[in-house]
């Protein structure tokens, strides 16, 4: 079913909120007293509920409402944060995600799971809706009335502070706040009261029948807490905090942190929480106008407010400002529009190349100068357009925190995930496709790599295993490393299994790296048991295939007993590249420029070497070669040059030489996919259209290197076998 645009936006935004909720829950596990995290989780649930209301997603509303009630108890310190609570909230979060996932489909969520979760959520609740927080050291007379403050930890004040948030159904229940304020006025003097508009959602998210009104009220009164509490007793769903005169500084600090994110002035914050009267603020501002200085310092000097409360208010202000700036610096863009923009820029690059070529054929300085300016601008446009597609890999990496948490519990292991280089950016298409392979690698590390806690201690390792994800740029590629400090790979065991399964021949001699990389062969698994996490032997070959489909490579290294390191290399972008144009007979090809090491014109000695071997000696190093005409099956033409040109290409510290006819120079190439017919054809990463209008295939350097090195080894082994056969014949003859 095709969903309308608004519903799609709701789904996207809800999923983002659920991601934020998940991240906050994971952080809360490590910092259970962090009020900001609890508020973040609450706001996410609250926003999802509010948005669901606009679309009439009643099940989401009612489920989220129950979760929200529990979260409200948590943020009011009525329910402690512990493992059980976090696990329950995680499950609730997952269930909300499943409800969102079925929107617009015929699928249903599990009603039994829903019922069970609702019961659990309710059972965790503290009970009463009306709450007060413990007061500080205050003087109470015989009737229980409060008077002036006492003690050094108390905030100097002769007023009560009431923080009120009405329940969402308050309007429907017919409650009239006029009566409430009238009752308060009967008790004392309302020094200040301010509605909190920021609690009201934006118009597009607002259900007008829901109540979002809340106030911060400062009341001067000789009364007791019970009398005040009675004013709000019958307001269903309301949350009230009552701070008596002389409450602890920490109570006010908590109150400051619970204020909505409004980027209010310092004075406003202090008046809102009742530690300052409007006239005291006016006095301080007058002092500031006459003599300069900071408002906070003046208030402390005047004895109006304690320094700790000022610090809390300033810290909140800074946080709100930062949050506002962050919210305003991003614009949501439909990814299809972005792709179209990049495609159009790509076409412009091709057309620009064509015009450039035509211009260069004319002897017109002015035209050539303009073309050069246009080329520079096009270059900028290309970089900017490609930059729009770049996304930090942190988004992908952070997903794995939850995986690590849940899988560790399942395996009874202690495992921590460390992320380095999360800010490293890569193309969004690559980001979307790299998630699954990485997930598989991490699960493998957890299942087969990291040992059980007791075993780790016995081996002298810390009980907690570490998996590290590290991302960084390296010459036109992005490198992602997945490291673990587990048991590592046993090369003897790997080779034995590979021989048993016919993956390699027994007489093959493989390097250690080659043995480790056997794990990517289909059907290869050293797991003695299949778990629901890994071990079926169908994962690693798919991982490699997925990475190679992104024009990337993956390599494994290991130290037995210490751990495994898997290194993935991926291109930065799949869209447009700087290329090096070469010709083989009549055909044009493009080599990605960042993989071109150098161009060499062969000397006579090297030409002779070439006729005998598939390699040459280049500055005392053996360089494997591919004779491109032979490799591609192209017959020489009259145009084939007698001069032999060698392009040395490099990828992942391996080099080969490509023997070509002509070197045409640099060219930008908009990569177009080859199409289904040519899938599986190795050696080519796509094609492009040159400025002349001719098609040019883009060479896939990593697969060419693999091919060249593979054939070099085949020759070596052939020679070795030939040698050993000769020895046998000789020995039998004797």
């Amino acid at each position: 079913m095709i969903l309308d645009e608004n519903t799609q936006i709701f789904i996207t935004e809800s999923n983002e909120l659920l991601d934020d909720m998940e991240n906050a829950l994971l952080e809360l596990e490590r910092s259970p007293n962090d009020a900001d995290l609890i508020n973040r989780i609450f706001r996410a649930a609250h926003t999802i509920k509010g948005s669901a209301g606009l679309f009439g997603f009643d099940k989401i509303i009612s489920f989220t409402h129950v979760a929200e009630n529990l979260l409200d108890d948590v943020r009011n310190c009525l329910v402690p944060v512990n493992d059980d609570l976090i696990s329950l909230l995680m499950k609730a979060r997952d269930y909300i995600a499943s409800m969102i996932a079925v929107i617009g489909t015929d699928k249903m969520t599990d009603i039994n799971e829903e019922t069970s979760l609702l019961e659990l959520l309710s059972s965790f609740r503290a009970g009463a809706d009306l709450v007060t927080i413990p007061s500080g050291p205050v003087a109470q007379d015989e009737t229980g009335n409060y008077s002036q403050n006492v003690g050094d930890d108390g905030v100097k004040s002769n007023t009560w502070h009431i923080s009120l948030r009405l329940g969402i159904d308050t309007f429907r229940e017919g409650f009239n706040p006029v009566i409430m304020f009238s009752q308060l006025k009967n008790i004392g003097e309302i020094v200040n009261a301010r509605v909190l508009p920021k609690n009201i959602p934006d118009m597009c998210d607002l259900n007008p029948e829901d109540c979002f009104l809340g106030w911060e009220i400062v009341l001067r009164a000789e009364t007791n807490k019970n009398t005040l509490a009675e004013v709000f007793e019958f307001i269903d769903g309301a949350v009230v905090h009552i701070l008596p005169p002389g409450s602890l500084i920490t109570d006010y600090q908590k109150l400051i942190n619970n204020l909505p994110d409004e980027d209010a002035a310092l004075g406003q914050i202090l008046v809102d929480i009742g530690t300052l009267t409007p006239s005291e603020l006016l006095l301080a501002l007058r002092e500031q106008k006459d003599n300069g200085g900071f408002t906070g310092d003046i208030l402390v000097e005047q004895g109006a407010v304690q320094a700790e409360v000022i610090d809390a208010a300033l810290s909140k202000q800074k946080k709100d400002r930062h949050e506002n700036e962050r919210q305003h610096s991003f614009v949501r863009v439909d990814s299809e529009k972005l792709d179209k923009l990049v495609m159009l820029v790509g076409e412009l690059v091709i057309s620009g190349a064509k015009v450039n070529q035509l211009a260069s054929n004319r002897d017109d300085d002015e035209l050539n100068e303009s073309m050069e300016e246009m080329s520079l601008t096009l270059e900028d446009m290309r970089e900017t357009a490609l930059g729009l597609r770049m996304v930090p890999i942190a988004n992908t990496f952070n997903r794995f925190q939850r995986v690590i948490r849940d899988t560790s519990k399942e395996l009874n292991k202690h495992i921590r995930l460390e992320i380095i280089g999360g800010e490293t950016e890569l193309d969004k298409t690559v980001i979307e496709k790299i998630g699954d392979p990485l997930m598989h690698l991490i699960r493998n590390s957890m299942d087969h790599g990291i040992e059980l806690p007791a075993e780790r201690v016995r081996l002298g390792k810390p009980e907690e295993g570490v998996i590290t994800l590290n991302a960084y740029h390296e010459t036109g590629t992005i490198v992602i490393e997945v490291n673990d400090d587990g048991a590592g790979l046993n090369p003897e065991k790997l080779l034995r299994i590979a021989v048993e399964r016919g993956v390699v021949d027994a007489e093959n001699s493989l390097s250690e790296e080659e043995i480790y990389n056997l794990i990517f062969e289909a059907g290869f698994s050293t797991a003695t048991e299949v778990s629901n996490i890994s071990g079926r032997g169908v994962g690693m070959d798919v991982v490699r295939r997925n990475i190679e489909s992104l024009r990337g490579t993956v390599v494994v290294n290991s130290v037995l007993g210490k751990g495994v390191k898997i290194t993935i290399r991926l291109p930065l972008t799949l869209a447009i590249i700087d290329g090096f144009h070469i010709r083989v007979a009549d055909e044009s090809f493009i080599i990605p420029l960042d993989m071109v090491e150098e161009c060499v014109t062969l000397n006579e000695e090297q030409k002779i070497e070439l006729e005998m071997h598939e390699y040459i000696n280049l500055r005392d190093n053996v360089l494997p070669l591919i004779k491109m005409a032979e490799y591609l099956g192209i017959s020489p033409t009259n145009k084939s040059s007698s001069r032999l040109n060698l392009v040395v290409v490099k990828f992942a510290r391996q080099k080969i030489g490509l023997l070509v006819d002509e070197l045409q120079g640099e060219a930008q190439a908009v990569i177009k996919p080859l199409g289904r017919t040519f899938q599986g054809v190795s050696g080519f990463a796509g094609f492009t259209i040159l400025g002349s209008g001719q098609l040019a295939l883009i060479l896939d350097v990593p697969s060419l290197i693999k091919s060249a090195i593979g054939s070099e080894k085949a020759v070596q082994m052939k020679n070795q076998r030939g040698h050993s056969m000769n020895v046998e014949i000789e020995s039998t003859m004797h």
Binding site: N176, F181, I200, D202, C211
Partner: protein, 98 residues
């Protein structure tokens, strides 16, 4: 810049502006915001309001500031002012004569 289909959009409130009519009023205001950069709220017929209406006005005021939409209130605004002040919800809306 948003493409508006007209210069000014008007919303006429009925006699009763309470929880029972609030969804309808909300829709009218939301539609008006989409149509024009200037929105007139005609309060001349209002006789009964409640706090849901005040909340809606607060949301409307915030929305107009957020999207640079000019907002004008027509008619006798005293009822609205008195009610909102009594619940300490100061509205920053411009009241003009028709």
């Amino acid at each position: 810049m948003k493409d508006f289909i007209q210069k000014t959009a008007s919303v006429k409130f009925t006699k009763d502006c309470t929880i029972y009519e609030i969804s309808d009023m909300y829709k009218k205001i939301s539609d008006a915001f989409k149509k024009a950069p200037k929105v007139k709220l005609d309060c001349s017929k209002i006789e009964i309001i409640d706090s849901s209406f005040i909340q809606l006005l607060i949301a409307t005021e915030l929305e107009s500031k957020r999207n640079n939409i000019e907002l004008e209130i027509y008619g006798d605004f005293n009822l609205i002012n008195d009610f909102s002040e009594s619940i300490y919800c100061h509205l920053d809306l411009k009241s003009v004569n028709k």
